[in-house]
Amino acid sequence: MLVLKNVEVVYDDVILVLKGLSLEVPNGKIVALLGSNGAGKSTTLKAISGLLHAEEGEVTDGSIELDGQRIDALPPEQIVKRGVFQVMEGRRVFEDLTVEENIVMGGYTRNDRAGLKRDHDLCFDYFPPLKRHRNKLAGYLSGGEQQMLAISRALMARPKFILLDEPSLGLAPLLVREIFSIIQRVNREEKTAFLLVEQNANLALQIADYGYIMESGRIVLDGEPEKLRANEDVKEFYLGGGSTTRYRNLKFYKRRKRWL
């Protein structure tokens, strides 16, 4: 169980990005974290994986616990060793390494040869295109293949939790569906839990067991996917096609001073 309690994150000592965020990812579940741009979704993932340190960010309050042990002060390599692996936004494969070498890097923290070999084959099993291109430089792969490679690297670390940041970014809809179905398969077969950050709320809520909605550094709504989908605000702002906007009403709208 991965638990965040009242986490506050400050960048550059002044900019407060997360303002007391709490969420839970149970073992073996898929949890979706939704929200608009700049809500702090990626920051949340980086706070968990420890990658904040490299960006002058810091967890200043609250705690992040993995199975009851605090991990918020650990360096990233320790967090990976404990079984939490982040797949960063925008795929970020090592472009001038081959596909094979990228996969090897995913298993960097592990030393069990037999297990590595098995997971290596498993990656090729999940993503056949990678096997075809195994000796090609990763920079020449297509966007979808790069996303597959990024997920493969995560599988190689055999983590308990994968933090997945916008896997649908810049991919064709068909590919997005494929990636999502593989996420589901990995979750089912390997019992890996996912914390899934997505803009595509519709798709994310289809595969998630639980969902959180974030706005400016806080969780504003959470619940089972069905409950979230039924919520009028979620429909309007995240799913689209909710209540149709009545443009006639718009002209009566007058901005009020909200601090009065």
């Binding site: 994986s49 420890g50 990658l51 490299a54 960006e55 002058e56 360096p75 990233p76 390599e77 967090i79 990976v80 060793k81 692996f85 982040q86 797949v87 960063m88 970020r92 090592f94 472009e95 001038d96 390494l97 070498e101 090897v104 890097m105 995913g106 960097y108 923290t109 430089l137 920079g139 020449y140 690297r153 670390a157």
Partner: protein
Amino acid sequence: MEFLLQLTLNGVVIGSIYALVALGFVIIYKSSSILNFAQGEFLMLGAYVCVSIVGAYHVPLWAAFLLTLAFFAVLGILMERLLLRPMIGEPVISVIMLTLGLASILKAIVQGIWGTETIAYPTIFPSAPVMIGPLPVSQGYLFSVASVGVLLVLFSAFFKYTRAGIAMRATAFSQQVALSMGVSVQHIFALAWSIAAVVSAVGGVLLGGIRGGVDGAFAFFGLKVVPVVILGGLDSVLGAIVGGLIMGILENLAGGYLDPIFGGGVKEVAPFIALVAILSLKPYGLFGKVKIERV
């Protein structure tokens, strides 16, 4: 003909020392995208340290050599710890400036300890030359060329097949992504600096043995190696070696044939002329990696 061969041979020998220093450059650049301008100073310091160990403790030279290597392995790690760790996440250019400062400091320290006089080197290599065809070749020359060959093979294999080597290349591509794989970027930097320092020290000792003495001019090797690495491609081990040899040979040929005509000085300029010519044809150097741009 014999003159040409002799010049080429000298070029190969000096070139192999260039190649060693260039190797140090490449290893640091490959893992951290930093140009270490203190590489020449490492070479100079290596030569001094080795000769001092021999002088002070009267140990045989091979033992002094191994001690020097150990000393440099530790020195490299210290460099990372004290100078580079605080700079993680800072712009690359600031770190490069830091290595320039480090170069001046090392030079000053060396002058403070050993003075500016040339210090004589014990004979490393037997003085009897080996005959290769018509040419008498000193054993020191052969040894330095051979050791460069061995290091080339070792490091190429290291970067291609070992996890640490792959992790170094991965770190060079992106520190943050490497971190997310669980790679300790600090360990990788320490390893890179350690290897680079050791390789330079090997170059320093070889050069001391060949020249029969060491002085502050050794540090200029660092500057001369900049065109070498740019020529070979900043991130290619093979490029460092080939670039080193080309520069060494070019320099000597230019010195032998052109200096008498122009009244001297061509030797120093020739490598840079070649550099400009080659870069205008191959902007990433002879073996440098081409940045991948997907369309």
